[in-house]
Symmetry: C2
Subunit: 382 residues, 2 copies
């Protein structure tokens, strides 16, 4: 029993307060973003991919991974350690696996390439695993999983990221929010798209709360002395950024509610995407504007459904399962029974129609970036 929520106008992260935002068409925003990256020195192919992944995040209502990253990415290119013209190299290629070196470029173009390799290998061998070293931030993990879904495969992507999260029973930042994305094809959209940080909350949520003046919940953030930090989100965010606090893993503090599970998952993601790929791991993973190449590691896997059963049978079975979940008794305080990825999907459909709500500060920042790097275009921020 689902509620009467209007999915036609649904946005998972509505613009609040609306006056602080402008609506920008996704094509306009993508075109402008692409120009900023070519202006910063990226090839037009790579700029297209980076713009596409960033704007997809904004369309999906994951603004923390959207065009608000442009300034950081381009600063990374201009100041030091993001390579605008990487030569991606295939270091190993054997059977169902491969290893790529991203040559210090942004993670999005190499991520798309790696997933394309994973898809081809899975079509041949049934399953595949492609690792990437020496990369940078790649945006939303789910984007790559969806690449496989559009080809009728199950797609998986994980990445490590700069330290923000405490390992269970410790008090300092050592793990990234190391997300896990798994996409599953359905006969009709929305596809199933699980895409979740292994932290209890993404840092973007605390950033959002800081902006809205909301209070951080007790159980999200741990101080260096082992106490839980809560209350004013701007203050808590400051403590995280300066290293005096860490986000807790999924499962929270200690083991009572599974903090060992969340931090263990983050650690396992890092062992595969970071350690096994030859990238940095844990506290060594850098960030886009750092003083050395971030050396982020990613992993991409695909599973060929038709190696196990016909696509018709798989679709039919998935749809039955979905129907069963949707028919469950809804919790009285829940708005709706959501499948993984549905909120993002419906937000995207809404925003393809009405535009992306861009915070005016982000909008002005993009124009400032354009000015800084000598790109003549501007977007309208009023």
């Amino acid at each position: 029993m689902t509620s009467n929520l209007d999915l036609e106008l649904y946005e998972r992260e509505p613009p609040i307060p609306p006056g602080e935002y402008v609506r920008v068409g996704s094509d306009v925003l993508k075109g402008f973003t692409r120009k900023l990256f070519t202006g910063a020195g990226l090839s037009s192919e790579d700029a297209e991919v980076v713009a596409e992944v960033l704007v997809t995040a904004d369309l999906m209502g994951i603004s923390s991974h959207g065009v608000q990253r442009v300034r950081r990415y381009i600063d990374g290119v201009l100041k030091c350690c993001v390579n605008p013209r990487p030569r991606v190299r295939l270091l190993r290629d054997g059977g169902a696996v491969a290893l790529l070196d991203a040559d210090g470029g942004l993670g999005h173009p190499v991520g798309v390439k790696a997933m394309e390799v994973a898809i081809e290998k899975a079509k041949t061998f049934g399953v595949s695993l492609v690792l990437v070293r020496n990369s940078q931030h790649y945006g939303i993990a789910g984007y790559y999983a969806l690449k496989a879904v559009w080809k009728g495969l199950i797609g998986v992507s994980v990445t490590n990221s700069e330290k923000l999260v405490a390992y269970v029973n410790t008090t300092s930042r050592v793990l990234g929010t190391n997300p896990i994305a798994i996409g599953v094809p359905r006969p009709r959209p929305p596809p199933i798209l699980f895409d979740a940080a292994t932290a209890v909350v993404p840092v973007g949520k605390i950033e959002l709360y800081a902006k809205l003046g909301k209070a951080v919940r007790e159980g999200w953030v741990l101080g260096r002395d082992g106490s839980l930090l809560s209350g004013d989100a701007a203050e808590v965010l400051g403590e995280i950024k300066n290293g005096r606090a860490a986000i807790l893993p999924l499962g929270g503090l200690g083991e009572e509610f599974g903090g060992h599970k969340g931090s263990g998952l983050a650690f396992m993601v890092d062992v595969i995407a970071g350690v096994l790929s030859g990238a940095a791991w844990g506290m060594h993973v850098g960030y886009t504007t750092g003083e050395k190449p971030a050396n982020v590691g990613h992993a991409f896997a695909a599973i060929n459904v038709e190696s196990f059963m016909s696509m018709e049978e798989f679709h039919s079975r998935v749809e039955k399962y979905v129907e069963e979940i949707k028919s469950l008794p809804k919790h009285p305080r829940a708005d709706r029974i959501w499948l993984p990825g549905e909120k993002a999907w419906y937000t995207m459909q809404t925003r393809l129609k009405v535009g992306i709500p861009l915070h005016k500060n982000v909008c002005k920042e993009l124009n400032q970036v354009a000015s800084d790097i000598g790109v003549e275009d501007r977007i309208n921020c009023e």
Copy 2:
């Protein structure tokens, strides 16, 4: 900084109160358990595997998955739907993937076979995925991941299981505790072994609390009306068993602490191990003593480390990461900084020396099973 905890005598789940337990040598317990299963009609090879997996769980301090399952397994054989002499069939075998039909037998023997196939395929193709349908309970997921680790590979195993857990924003049991196990080789034991239910707690923990007269924490269990159940563990356990309550997913109630992540992970495990394998899924997964074959589904994957880097390099990188984790500031209320699998490993080393603490009721139950099926051996329960 780790504490002075005595690992030489460490047990993650010590016998409390000690007077209710007898210590039984693991070889004795395994030999006796094997005889019970051959007595129930299993082949000696299959009985050996089932006994080995069950006793390994007891050695690791996971008694909920140890020999206390014998009665249920053998009841399943005697009363109806566990096939004591399954003919495991290879339904599909292509490249790096395979699909097995367990023919309604216990999950342990087919699990070992499936992981052996996964290991061989990963050695050839770098990565592999083997699915199993029409199976039964397979014990601890970590056992199969370790099979790969002993061959120098990264091992993964997941399974679905009978409904116990609520999907996010709903209030009834629909998902299994669907565990995820990932094992990583190290130069010396203990190996890294992540093995965790995607529920906030395993049902075994609530069973243990019921026995100890401890209170269930608020945030573990959800009533059908949407309220959180806590307090007397025996009562709460009764509510779960009769379907009036469900265990919450990892991340707890709603989305605020990530309940959508835990239930999403459980759902993804089920899509691969249940839906894609051709097994049952969600509410359809049966149990060992049910009135129809449980049709449990499992998945096994292996990653060949040496497809990506030399084992020496991998070992060296893992050891550096481990050292860094162990050197983190410990939380003041934590006993120690544990790697995934360390508690189980040290418990096993202790119990290999001093024996497995077997609850006298379980001990007597095993003797009763022996009597029921005409096996002459007994173990000493005093």
